[in-house]
């Protein structure tokens, strides 16, 4: 492998944020919660995230998780815990919501 530029090998939060937002817009857009479509959406968001991350062409392994929850006043909390190289690896979580649901997407990137 040719030597990489230092910036190329870094997990850049802003870049990932754009990736996640674009993926949510593409897969869900302005639709409201629909029980039959949720599986399709979670798959769609994750899939399109992975595709965009692959295009970035960086030396990372990625894990994308998508949570969709219907809004009805129920509380929810999410936590992550990782055992990795703090300097090289990173994660970014985006919370997106509309009138009827919450969508929370997390991308973990582990340098290889």
């Amino acid at each position: 492998m040719p030597p990489k530029e230092n910036e190329d090998a870094m997990f850049i939060l802003d870049e990932i944020k754009t990736v996640i937002k674009d993926s949510i817009d593409e897969a869900i857009g302005s639709q409201q919660f629909n029980h039959d479509k949720v599986t399709h959406w979670t798959n769609g968001v994750s899939e399109s995230c992975i595709k965009r991350l692959a295009v970035l062409n960086k030396p990372f392994k990625y894990v994308v998780t998508t949570v969709i929850m219907q809004k009805n006043g129920a509380g929810m909390i999410m936590a992550t815990s990782c055992f990795w190289d703090k300097a090289a690896d990173g994660s970014n979580t985006i919370r997106w919501e509309n009138k009827t649901m919450y969508v929370i997407v997390t991308v973990f990137g582990a340098a290889i």
């Binding site: 949570v67 992550t80 055992f83």
Partner: protein, 158 residues
């Protein structure tokens, strides 16, 4: 005059004689057609194969047990105590995997707990990785008050 018949290529030394006597004809070791059927199985195609693998089933059992223990006894969803509990669950699972001694593996754990009010909820994950070395595990719990999901991923540092 009677001559003793000469043996063809008589062995010159004792060592040669011994080798000749103990030599096994090559066809006796492995017949040709048998050799062709032997399939060479490499231990792994990877030059960087991990010495230990992430055991998905064990982790799943641990998560399920842990969630049942910690969430099953809750009388109701407590939004003040939930953040600490959620973080604790993620940490416990992380420590459990870390203690499995997986060298060069990076561990990611994500936990979600929430109130069950018959709302729709879905947790999904997709990954970009090497399926030969990396793996994941999921565990979940649900009763009338709370639900909990914990996912764990192990990523091998190549």
């Amino acid at each position: 005059m009677a001559e003793t018949p000469a043996t063809p290529n008589p062995p010159e030394t004792l060592q040669d004689m011994k080798e000749e006597l103990t030599a096994v004809p090559p066809e006796a070791i492995a017949p040709v057609e048998m050799v062709q059927k032997v399939k060479i199985v490499k231990h792994s195609e990877l030059p960087y194969a991990p010495p230990a693998r992430f055991q998905s089933g064990k982790v799943k059992d641990f998560i399920n047990k842990l969630l049942k223990e910690r969430l099953g006894s809750l009388p109701a969803y407590d939004f003040e105590a939930a953040p600490a509990l959620c973080r604790e669950l993620a940490d416990l699972v992380k420590y459990e995997i870390r203690d499995m001694n997986l060298p060069r593996y990076k561990i990611v754990v994500q936990s979600v707990i929430g109130e069950s009010k018959n709302q729709g909820f879905q947790f999904a994950s997709k990954s970009l990785w090497d399926p030969q070395t990396d793996d994941y595990s999921f565990g979940s719990f649900l009763n009338e008050h709370v639900f909990g999901v914990v996912g764990a991923w192990a990523l091998y540092l190549t």
